[in-house]
Amino acid sequence: MGDNSTNKALLRQVFEENYEAISRYCHRRLPRADANDATAQVFAVAWRRFDSMPSGEQTLPWLYGVARNEVRTSRRSTRRLTNLRTKLGGQATYPEPGPETVVIRNSEQEHLLKALATLRPDDQEILRLRAYEHLTLPEVAEVLDCSVEAAKKRASRATHRLRQATGWSAPTDAAQASGAIQEGGDV
């Protein structure tokens, strides 16, 4: 590890380059009261694990992996934090990310989001990583800490389950092949 001041300068650089992406990630998944806290914690963890943080294009997926852990930790403690300020009882509801985190332009999208909400959290996460964070499968693998092949299979299964939840029929092979992004094809 380099000297402290050099690392701090590097941390500031990493922060400036990735803050908005990580903040958006956290705001999509947490109540706004918790999203900033989780975002700050991601970079605090990055500081502690400076030696293991990859450089270049691998930095952001690695930070997403840290953020994923922080989001899970935050969700576990959210009820406790809510209770702290609810104080007087009777208002203890588990806060979810607000409705402002999504834009619904048509009934198809509304249907899609409702279907997404019925999936297991792991499936939801991999689909959001693909659709919202626009990650490639190797980047998803980095976030989920698994092999690219495993990420590919999990993404495929999650998409399949989402399709089932929507009730939409599967396309023919020819139609599938004409898609702009092939599942596993943009690695």
């Binding site: 992406a21 705001h27 918790d34 900033n36 975002t39 970079f43 626009h134 898609g179 599942e183």
Partner: protein, 312 residues
Amino acid sequence: MNDSQILEQLSLTDAYAPDMDMPESAWSHDVAFAEVERRIGGQTQTTSAPVHPTPTRLRGWLIAAAAFAVVIVVIGATMLFARPSDNTPPVTTPSTTQAPPPTTTEALPPTTVAAAEEAIVTTIAPIVEAEPVMTDEVVALLDNYQTAFNTGDEAAFTSFFAADFWRADPSSVEWRQSAEYMLHMMTNSRIQGTTLSIENCTPTAEGARCEFVYDGAVEQGLYYGPIRDTVITFIDGGEVTHMLITEWETGDLQERSGQKVLDWVEENFPEDRPKMQIIAIGVVNDQNGLDPIEALELWGKYVPLWTEAGRP
């Protein structure tokens, strides 16, 4: 719809897409990085210039002392190496062993002092920046803030906040709070008898980190003690630009205390129960058609009575 089209449709629902504005509730870069630095234990902040304790005289004195020390070391080293040693192999030429020390020594000072100044600059700078001090201005501002809060001086209280002030309260649903909200909270606190005490302040590059302790009969009754927020106060140009609550503590919080109070009021003072609603300390609104001031007064009235009754 194929898989890629499903993902594409999903991506279109993202309100926080990279090409869209950041979430309104997101901290600014500076505020967020200040919080990161706090968490990693860094004392050096970059958002504003730190206050330097007697910078010119201290630095000049240190430069002189360091330069003197370096001169002494170099002279000593020169004399040491110039002195014939018993273990030195036999000399081959007189001119080498008898290199005249005075000449060497006289040539040293200009070079040595310059090197010392260069070395001292890189050594001193981080030390000075790491020690911001609590200025009289900051102390006075915090003191006046506390006084304005406790006397209910609305004009004085609002004068502390910069035009674009906001407070980040991660523990609250309404986490981004305006100066108007702060005034609302102060007014309501006055009604219910809550006082503010600003304690344990330490200087930061932005202003100060202090404990804001809210206490009164309501806090004592419901929480068995004061509410204690750790707050970084950002001060610029004599105004408070931001407040960032980083830690909070509510003593032995009793989750259902509020509901217990309401049940107790309903049983003992049924005429007043409809005028009360579930509120958070210092925060009440008229959403339910209730008079918020009256509701706060009733909380201030009944919590101590409920406490005296043994918190049934």
